[in-house]
Each structure stands twice: as C-alpha cells, then as structure tokens.
Symmetry: C2
Subunit: 191 residues, 2 copies
C-alpha cells in the first residue's frame, strides 16, 4: 500500500447531473446542479448545495421553492450551457418549455424525463455555499421512462459529471443487485 494525499477538492466521484430550476426576480432560470442528495426518507426530502454567489441561491431564499430536473444524455450541451452562463448576464428563460405543478416558482422542464418540485424547509449556511433542504412536493415522469410503474434509468438515460477533470459520463452496465449480492456474500462467509 502506498496511499498518497489528494487535494481536498479533487474528488472525482461521479455525481448525477441535474438542472436546478428557480425564478430569479420573476424570471425562469436554470443552473447546472451536481451537488445534491436525498436527506430524509419520510417525508421525502432533497438537499441541494448552491454557491452563495449564484443567482439561484438568492432566488431560493426569496421564493422558498425550486425544481430539480434530470436531463438525458441528449441534453449534454444545453445542460452545460446552463452551468457556464450566469442569470446575472444572460437570459436563460427561453431555453426550455416548462410547466408548473402546485409550486409557481419551481419551473419543471418538459424535455426532462424526471421533474422534482421542492418546497424549502431548511437553509444551512456554510462558508462558501448554502445547503438548501426541500420537501418533495411532487415528482413527475412519463410512461415512456417507466418500467413496472417506476422510473427506469435505462430509459431515462441520465448522465454523470466528474470533477475536476470535468467529464460527462453515461450510466454503464448493470453489474449487480443491491440487497441480493450481499446476501450471497453472507452465505459465503458462513462456509
């Protein structure tokens, strides 16, 4: 073993690429969002991390609402565009057709196979970023992306980002089954 220290921001874990939807001063806006996770099972909550300098950060504070939309591999360029252009300079409001559920400041992108609308319930301020915790109000998809009534990653075809090499990746092969492969391993341990 020869373990070596890595600079603390050189993570290189694959994160699922999403598009954060907000209303910035009444105008629809999008931001490429990779730092997010589920944070509570019941009720279902999502936590997202937004740099304090981003227009989306102020927007969420003001409206108390946001959306998380999952683009497909066919949307790589436009998604990345949302990540490199600031709402402070460019109007991104016309990039996508959107629709709304109950939350009127959480724009849902029609072209995305999965749309999640969240109501802000807690704001955790950290030094350079804010972690916003939202309760999921609704998740929407379409029949074409489902198998047995559940979203199917092979049909949705989301993509991943690794940093700081800044590469996008598709989801690869199905290599195992959770809650099953571990049971097999447990049997082996007993032998």
């Amino acid at each position: 073993m020869s373990k070596i220290p890595i600079e603390k921001n050189l993570f290189c874990l694959p994160w699922t690429q999403t598009l954060l939807g907000t209303h910035v001063q009444g105008r629809v806006n999008y931001m490429a969002l990779d730092w997010l996770t589920r944070v509570n099972y019941n009720p279902a909550m999502l936590g997202i991390c937004v740099n304090k300098g981003h227009a989306s950060n102020q927007a969420i504070r003001e409206t108390g609402e946001f959306s998380v939309n999952v683009p497909t591999v066919d949307m790589v360029e436009v998604t990345d565009y949302c990540g490199i252009v600031s709402a402070k300079r460019d109007d991104k409001s016309k990039l996508f057709e959107v629709f709304y559920g109950e939350l009127k400041a959480a724009p849902l992108i029609t072209a995305c196979p999965l749309n999640i609308a969240c109501r802000l319930i807690q704001t955790v301020d950290l030094p350079t970023n804010t972690f916003f915790i939202g309760e999921i109000v609704i998740i929407l998809s379409e029949e074409q992306y489902l198998s047995d009534g559940k979203p199917d990653v092979t049909k949705m075809r989301p993509f991943l980002l690794t940093m700081p090499d800044n590469r996008f990746w598709s989801v690869g092969e199905h290599i195992g089954n959770a809650w099953k492969d571990g049971a097999k391993y447990r049997e082996k341990l007993k032998i």
Copy 2:
C-alpha cells in the same frame, strides 16, 4: 406531453456507492452509503445522510468522526453485504484491512481507491434521518488510480446504485466535457 406523478421515494437517480466507516462502541463498522454530496467548496465539506435507526448514526454523534470510502466494481458483493447487515447483530470489523490518518475513529479501507476522512462540524436532524456535515481532513488515493495527479474515474472504477429497482451500475462512456460543450452551445445560439 403526458406527465404522470411518481411516488415520492421512487427516485431512481444513480448515486455513487460508498462505504461509511465509523467506530461503533470502539469497534470498526461499515455501512453502505449512497446519500451523500459535497456541501461546501472551501473548506471542502461532505454531507452524508444516515437513518436514525442505524448504528452508524449514533457512532458519528459519539465520536464526531467518520470516513467515506469508495469501493470498486470488484467490491460489489462485500459492499452490499455492509448494507444489509446491522452492526447491532453482525461484527463487520474484520471485513477489510484498514488504516488511519489523524482521525482515530475514521477507519480508512485499504482496498478502496479513494478514502476520505471527515470531522463532524454540524448535525442536521430531520424526521427519519440525520444529515451530518463533515469537514474533509484528508483524502487519500494511490498512484495507480491517478492521471496527471488527479483521481481518474476510469482507473478507480466506482459504481452506482439506483433505487428502488436496487441495481448497481458501472460508470459508462465519456460522452462530453463540462465547461466546453456549453461554450459550443452558446456559439450556436449566437448564429
């Protein structure tokens, strides 16, 4: 468009599979961890979500330390085993060879290509889960997993989990480049 509502826990986003390392009453323990994200850029922080019923939850509260280890696709079975067996019933302490940095309750798994040691700085209690925010004290890897001194996902070969279909996935093809593909799109918009 015919969007349909999806049950709020049927997410099906791919999360990178990791192994949470803690000391439970002085004994090394592991838990399969999928709900995690970066939460602050500088200083580098990681947020992890642990169900309140898990032994790891109490362990982090008691020691104020934890590790996040990234297994490879070759470790699917043993990783899943850590997710289906509770420390309250089975001793998982002998599963892996471990080493330690500065934090003596953050066991780092030698076999994992990426090891992250965190010191707890904030605890966010939610209804069924706890979101622990840790400052990254050190990240370790090995020369064989790096390209240009940075962790390379094609060499580390981490894997992903989607729920509730409970399938593990490898990382797929390199399909684009962040901060570049968006610039191309911007040029197209100008035409």
